[in-house]
Symmetry: C2
Subunit: 325 residues, 2 copies
């Protein structure tokens, strides 16, 4: 499969590496809205101007769109689906139905296929919620995130006056995980499920007490959580907080039996050294499935729910049945 | 969907309960090779002779075959696939390709659809092996079972002279799990991965030392493992070992990044109070998907790898995207 990367930030770099690990994938090039000469891909892949993408239409099986969910993807994915098979990692959960409809209309009209909201949440976590709730209809679902860096929360702290840099870790609370695993189906508040740890580089002379208070009282982001704030130096930030680890848990507990006397616990856990590289790896596996669907003449917008797992693997059906079933 | 149960042991009883929990499923009846009058279903479902199944052909969307893998299913599933859509839980991993071919030929010829090897291993564990290896091509897979009752190993102990009853628990070794989760991709022997705990009721006057030695030295089943043997009374067996718990772990660790500098751990864990009831719950969810595939005109033999997850849920596409993605 011949793949193009559209947008070259952390996720684009991850996709570049993941394509190199896929034995059946080839990277046509990186397409950027910046000056192509200013972009230096990790693997030396060719760089082209985003505006020139259409010139490469015949050389590309699928475009992996590596833009942000806030403003890039709602515009980019429907537009690119007019000319290409596409895949994105749109992760604003509340706006997925709207994004789906826009992409579906564009892809159906042009006869292309598109996959939105692919990654780990939405993505692999969604799949695990779906499998587990289909198997155990009488039960309850729980999703925990972390320990990992939340970009949105880190950005929120950085916007506070006097903050030079910040990193926010979302931390699942072990007691809540244990309560869920017990099968008692507890109702848990935001505060009971996650801690928020902030590491902050303050400007010289900034009022640290005021910064800490502003963080802890910030509505939506921090007010509903127990939050810790630790001031560190710029050097400590670079040394100890340069990577982007993440992960989390999807747990469903449910009952079966004549009188629902038996409890089952299904737990899916991710522990990721690099959030963007793992997301990229999921994207490349689903890109393979989308290329196969396109070859079968399928069109329109899909989600991870619509992909038969066999289509994700470079192995054949007989190989999968013999070695993986 | 109108479902029939073919065979009424532990698994058949589990399916009966699981059908009651599925809001879109109806149980046509239990079909048994025993005298129908001798079978008393938990929920009062009607019981018919297995030999009369064909008379109910027009009333049944799909037959869930609840026979054993050793001798029942290799014969039953291809035969029933001549007249019905069918699903089974065939779990002799080494013979899956052969079973698939036999069922596929029968189902294609008759225009029916069939799903084989559905449950949790093969089944949900297989799906997790496939997803994880597709996402992380540079990595290693590990499957651990337990703590849970292995029927095959329990039966092997029961065949020893002087043994009245036996229960064998397969127990994953925590140190091996931790080594796997560390991402070092260790090579582990059978002995390093699992312990085998046996609880045995011996006949009066039986030579317990000889029984213990015969268990521990039994090739394939026990010789390659650290095995404990505990002699208990018939009453203790009934009181403490009546249920059939099971579970296990599928873990894949893999590397990403330009120089494979980042490690990721994907872990899927099941903790099941009742092995047959959980297997039954998986069967009913996949029965739903098979009925939908049949309605779309698909035929032939499938595995869990061929099922798009959306087909497992009673929810619609828009509902799934809005609430579960």
């Amino acid at each position: 499969m011949k793949l193009a990367i559209y947008g070259y930030g952390n996720l684009g770099r991850g996709v570049e590496c993941a394509i190199r690990q896929a034995r059946d994938a080839e990277l046509v090039g990186v397409f950027t809205r910046r000056t192509p000469e200013s972009v230096k891909p990790l693997t030396g892949a060719p760089v082209f101007a985003a505006a020139d993408l259409l010139q490469y239409k015949d050389k590309i099986d699928l475009v992996i769109i590596c833009g942000g969910s806030a403003t890039d993807l709602p515009k980019m994915t429907p537009v690119l689906a007019r000319d290409f098979n596409v895949i994105d990692s749109f992760d604003t959960h509340a706006n997925i139905p709207q994004h789906f409809d826009a992409v579906d209309a564009a892809a159906k009209e042009s006869g292309h296929i598109a996959l939105i909201s692919c990654g780990w949440d939405p993505g692999m976590f969604s799949l695990n919620r779906l499998y587990a709730s289909s198997i155990l209809p009488d039960g309850a679902d729980y999703t925990f995130w972390g320990r990992g860096v939340s970009q949105g929360h880190s950005d929120a702290v950085r916007r506070i006056d006097g903050v030079l840099d910040a990193r926010q870790y979302t931390v699942p609370i072990e007691a809540a995980l244990d309560a869920v695993r017990s099968g008692t189906m507890p109702e848990l508040t935001a505060r009971q499920k996650h801690l928020r740890e902030c590491y902050v580089v303050a400007a010289e002379g900034a009022d640290k007490a005021r910064i800490e208070q502003e963080i802890k009282e910030m509505p939506n982001y921090f007010a509903d959580y127990d939050t810790t704030v630790t001031f560190i130096t710029k050097e400590e930030m670079q040394r100890d907080h340069a990577s982007l680890p993440h992960g989390g848990f999807v747990i469903r507990t449910g009952k079966t039996g004549l009188n629902k006397e038996h409890t089952h616990v299904i737990e899916y856990k991710l522990k990721l050294d690099s959030n963007p590289e793992f997301t990229a790896s999921v994207l490349v596996a689903f890109a393979r499935a989308m290329c196969r669907k396109a070859a079968r003449g399928e069109t329109g917008c899909k989600t991870v729910f619509d992909v038969a797992p066999a289509d994700l693997s470079p192995l054949t059906g007989p190989e999968l049945r013999a070695h993986m079933l």
